[in-house]
């Protein structure tokens, strides 16, 4: 051990004597190791770290929302679970205790907190005994809201607050950092107390279930039991419970499942960057070891074993690896801070991204492994060199083996860089294709604002309609085109119901097809710029007391009225209570990209806000378009909303272009990050080619001098060096293409309208890399062509 420490001390001394080499090596390694540490910190936070609940691996959920009665029945009958609970998002207004506050709350059913295994920090959580119709008005708040709104008042528990116009007693404050698995909310109310009608309705599937598996019960067993239970439910309640999906999944998988392929791709990318960095440094170390041939020969002649010589080189590579790791960790720390602000919201669990102890250990292991990896070849060569050859003095011609080794390093770097560049190219191609998709309406010039009408003042439909009409009148008076919609295209929300078309063969109850429903008011289609393909638009005349009407989209017409027109046909919602309420289709409009730019629209229907008496649909997105363009439009919209209701908080006024842009956040982030890694790889590979050729020229100085003395002209010398670089590039690109063909399949899930083997991308990337590599040859080639044969031969 002391011998190794001695070697380490010598290595540090040697490295400090060549600060240029050391700086380049450490910077290269910092880039490679730092990128790995940063991505590992994200992978660890998102994929590896368990959810912050006790025994979180036992937490499972269902693919779809279910109703409160279904959840209760499941809880009562299924034996696979220790606890069964659920929650539903609900915008809530908190009044009467300081400034009115609009917050996102959760309606909690059953034993959600028991299922999550979390206790309150102050007071208590909500239990099944709180969640009963006619029960006491009790509420639990998050630590954040307790701090923000009540200044961490320890006497808050027991105090009455007004939520949605109703008094609630706060019975508990949750611990800091507590959050529901899938949502960020600030206040919890018992569902059956706050919204008894919805909680009573077996057909309102609005609860996101959280189930805790009984210890020792596998998810497969639980799945089988839930499937059997749901079959019984369907037999007993065919109207509401047919088609319930029993496909239990772990909550962790549900949250992070979508991110897995992206993170795997990024991990692969940073792995490749590190490999390129290793190859780069190994190549430099080989050259450095060659330059130390005489010293190593003397040591060997004085009795040093080959293993000892190899150990000296390994000590140097280990010191470099650790120094690179330390610098890389600092870079990773910066990067994770940047991730926290720049990573897309669609990537879950980002709040917990940090360079913690796990990341530290990872970086240490990677640093040591990296040092050993890139030191291996130079160490083996140091141990192998015959002392006599070294003592005779190193010749400066490049031996065939040296040349092959240097070229092999450069070829590997070019090949690895090509794999990365192909990945980045495919994702950039995907992004470009996504950006060029027409969302179905011109987003330019549109501004949107989200409104949640507080229940305290807008409990019933008439007051909601009055506000909506007043706001649209104000906006129209300001010479704007304005409308409202309940589910904004690309806004991330949707609502669907089962439906029946009049005159069609009967469909068994519960198996009716689903239709997406979007409530609108004002000239929505005109404001959005959607095309009317038949019939008429919805108008102000389609009021509460007018016949029920709807406009359907192309997808609906195509699927359910193939070859014919839907205009004049009638349909009804399958779960309507009371006598059938037939809705006449009066218009047909073009599809929009509602669910994402890469996803086509699904059958949908637009109905007037005024009809159907949906008191609970208190939210809306206002869309406004001005013929004069968007500047100041946002402010005008805010002013008009304030004029319509001075107390109404206005959330998120956004340019529609930003809404579209946000939907591209994830592919853009991924393409950007992979592009950055590919850029780093390209830079490292290019430097690798420069380094190898530079070494080659340095080692071939005498040979080139001889050739010039024998008549080679400078252009020919330049061509020879560039030819060497071109051969390296060609071999690297050839191998890289084979690697990319295999690796690109891993990106399939992340691509849109681009085949993993897209010839144009492969060709473009190969050309780029070839140009960069050959361009990189210029400097060494110029140096070679300027070798003074006299100096070169004299220096012998």
């Amino acid at each position: 051990m002391s011998g190794f420490l001695h070697d380490v001390r010598h290595a540090i001394r040697r490295l400090s004597r060549s600060p240029g080499f050391t700086a380049i090596a450490v910077a290269t390694l910092a880039l490679g190791i730092g990128a790995n540490a940063a991505i590992f910190s994200v992978v660890r936070a998102v994929l590896l770290r368990p959810l912050p609940y006790a025994d979180s691996e036992r937490l499972v959920t269902l693919p779809d929302n279910i109703s409160t009665p279904e959840l209760s029945d499941l809880r009562a009958t299924a034996r696979s679970f220790d606890a069964v609970g659920g929650s539903a998002l609900q915008p809530l207004d908190l009044t009467g205790d300081g400034d009115p506050l609009q917050i996102t709350g959760a309606l909690v059913t059953g034993d959600l907190f028991e299922a999550l295994g979390t206790r309150a920090a102050l007071g208590r959580t909500l239990s099944p005994s709180d969640d009963r119709e006619g029960g006491e008005h009790v509420a639990v708040v998050t630590h954040g809201l307790w701090l923000r709104h009540w200044g961490a008042d320890p006497a808050l528990v027991g105090r009455s607050v007004t939520v949605g116009g109703q008094p609630y007693t706060i019975v508990g404050v949750m611990p800091a950092g507590f959050a529901l698995p899938e949502h960020r909310v600030e206040l919890f109310l018992p569902a059956r107390v706050a919204y008894p009608s919805d909680a009573r309705d077996r057909d309102v599937h609005y609860v996101r279930p959280v189930l805790r598996l009984r210890r020792g019960v596998s998810i497969e067993t639980a799945r089988a039991e839930v499937a059997a239970t749901f079959r019984r439910f369907a037999a007993a309640y065919p109207d509401s419970d047919t088609g319930l999906d029993a496909g239990l999944v772990s909550i962790h998988e549900r949250i992070v499942g979508d991110s897995r392929s992206a993170l795997v791709a990024l991990s692969g990318a940073v792995g490749l960057v590190l490999l390129i960095a290793c190859s780069n440094i190994a190549s430099l170390l080989v050259a450095r070891t060659r330059a130390r041939a005489k010293e190593l020969a003397i040591r060997s002649a004085l009795g040093s074993s080959r293993a000892r010589l190899a150990r000296q080189v390994l000590a140097e590579s280990s010191v470099l690896g650790l120094a690179g790791g330390a610098a890389g960790l600092a870079l990773a720390d910066r990067a994770t801070r940047l991730f926290a602000t720049r990573l897309p919201d669609s990537l879950p669990r980002l709040a917990s991204v940090s360079t913690d102890r796990g990341v530290l250990i990872f970086t240490l292991v990677v640093s040591i492994a990296t040092g050993l990896l890139f030191g291996l070849v130079p160490a083996m060569r140091a141990g192998r060199r015959a002392p006599a050859a070294g003592l005779r003095g190193a010749r400066t011609t490049a031996g065939a083996e040296d040349r092959r080794l240097g070229a092999a390093f450069a070829v590997s770097q070019v090949a690895l860089a090509l794999v990365l560049l192909v990945g980045a190219g495919l994702l950039a191609n995907t992004l470009w294709r996504l950006r060029s998709i027409d969302p179905g309406f011109p987003a330019e010039g549109l501004v949107t604002a989200h409104l949640d009408l507080p229940e305290s003042r807008y409990k019933r439909l008439p007051s909601q309609l009055q506000f909506r009409r007043r706001l649209l009148d104000l906006l129209t008076a300001a010479r704007l085109r304005a409308a409202m919609v309940s589910e904004l295209p690309l806004g991330g929300s949707d609502l669907n119901h089962q439906f029946v078309i009049e005159g069609r063969p009967a469909i068994p109850t519960g198996q009716e097809p689903r239709l997406y429903s979007r409530s609108v008011m004002g000239d929505y289609f005109g404001t959005m710029g959607m095309r009317l393909l038949g019939g008429r638009k919805l108008s102000d005349a389609d009021r509460e007391d007018a016949p029920l009407v709807a406009v359907v989209n192309e997808s609906m017409a195509r699927l359910y009225f193939p070859g014919g027109s839907p205009i004049g046909a009638r349909f009804r919602w399958a779960r309507d209570s009371g006598p059938p309420q037939w809705i006449e289709i009066v218009g047909l409009v073009s599809d929009v990209r509602h669910f994402g730019l890469s996803t086509g629209d699904l059958p949908a229907v637009y109905t007037p806000y005024a009809q159907f008496g949906l008191n609970w649909k208190r939210w809306a997105d206002v869309v406004v378009r001005s013929p004069e363009g968007t500047p100041a439009l946002a402010e005008l919209l805010r002013a008009k909303i304030r004029e319509a209701d001075p107390l109404l908080p206005v959330k998120s006024i956004r340019l529609y272009e930003d809404v579209v842009s946000t939907s591209l956040e994830r592919p853009r982030f991924l393409a950007g990050l992979l592009g950055a890694f590919a850029g780093a790889a390209l830079l490292l590979a290019t430097l690798g080619v420069v380094g190898v050729l530079g070494n080659l020229v340095a080692r071939r100085t005498r040979e080139i001098g001889v050739r010039i003395a024998l008549g080679a002209d400078p252009a020919r010398v330049r061509r020879e060096v560039i030819g060497e670089g071109a051969r390296i590039a060609a071999a690297g690109i050839g191998i890289g293409l084979a690697g990319a063909l295999a690796a690109s399949r891993a990106l399939t899930q992340l691509l849109y309208a681009v085949h993993p083997i897209d010839p144009a991308t492969y060709a473009a990337v190969s050309l780029l890399l070839a140009a960069a590599a050959i361009g990189a040859c210029y400097l060494p080639a110029r140096r070679a062509s300027r070798i003074d044969p006299i100096e070169a031969l004299r220096s012998e």
């Binding site: 011609t397 001889v706 050739r707 003395a709 024998l710 008549g711 003074d788 006299i790 031969l793 004299r794």
Partner: protein, 236 residues
């Protein structure tokens, strides 16, 4: 063949201008065998490089076969070198990775000569220098004398009018050295103009004239009266 007038070469150093060659006036006729001698640092190799048109940074007038080298662009000088000059180096400077035959081919490869013609020239030269048996060997498999023999063969393969040799026997033992010098003399007898740089008085006596340099100046020019391997007073 060669006329040098007022050739000077200097380096800028911290101490000022340092001259390597000063006011060199020298004429070398076709078919001559001239030896340049002088202590280390006298400028011998530099003068040889200027003669071989490998060194471009000098002042003065240099006419080679009637052409004004001093007025030529470097590229034209290289062409003139290619057509007319062959080099022999003290350390042979054979390329380690190439066989004897491939080393001989190098100068031809830079001279727009057809492949078949090159092969024939290489074969002729191997034959002429009696190294056919060694054509597939690498330099490391040859003795010093054999390596220098290949070096001379390589210098002559493109049939230069002028052979420049920088300490051609410096790395050889005396027998091998004498063999190379006799070869030079034979080549000279066959019409090749030779300029050699050497420290050896004995080798100098294989030539006809000795130019002595000191501190960059021509310190003296003397005619060899008793050439090695030739009757006293014999001179062409």
């Amino acid at each position: 063949m060669i006329e040098l007038r007022n050739i000077e070469k200097a380096f800028e150093t911290r101490a000022g201008k340092t001259f390597v060659l000063r006011r060199i006036d020298l004429t070398i006729n076709e078919g001559e065998f001239v030896t340049i001698m002088g202590p280390s640092g006298a400028g011998k190799t530099t003068l040889l490089s200027i003669l071989g048109m490998l060194d471009h940074s000098w002042t003065g007038e240099y006419r080679f076969l009637g052409e004004a080298v001093h007025e030529m662009k470097p590229r034209d000088r290289i062409d003139l070198n290619k057509k007319n000059v062959g080099f022999v180096f003290q350390q042979y400077h054979l390329l380690d990775d190439l066989t004897v035959a491939e080393n001989l081919d190098i100068p031809l490869s830079y001279r727009n000569i057809k492949g078949s013609e090159r092969a024939s020239l290489v074969a002729d030269t191997l034959d002429r220098f009696q190294i056919v048996g060694k054509k597939d060997l690498f330099p490391s498999q040859l003795s010093g004398g054999q390596q220098q023999l290949v070096g001379v063969a390589r210098a002559l393969i493109a049939r230069p009018k002028l052979l420049l040799a920088d300490e051609p026997t410096g790395n050889l033992h005396s027998d091998q050295g004498r063999e190379i010098m006799r070869l030079f003399q034979k080549l000279n007898d066959e019409g090749t103009t030779i300029v050699q740089v050497t420290h050896s008085e004995e080798n100098a006596r294989y030539g006809q004239r000795i130019v002595r340099l000191a501190d960059g100046w021509i310190a003296g020019v003397e005619t060899v009266t008793e050439r090695m391997g030739q009757p006293a007073g014999a001179s062409r």
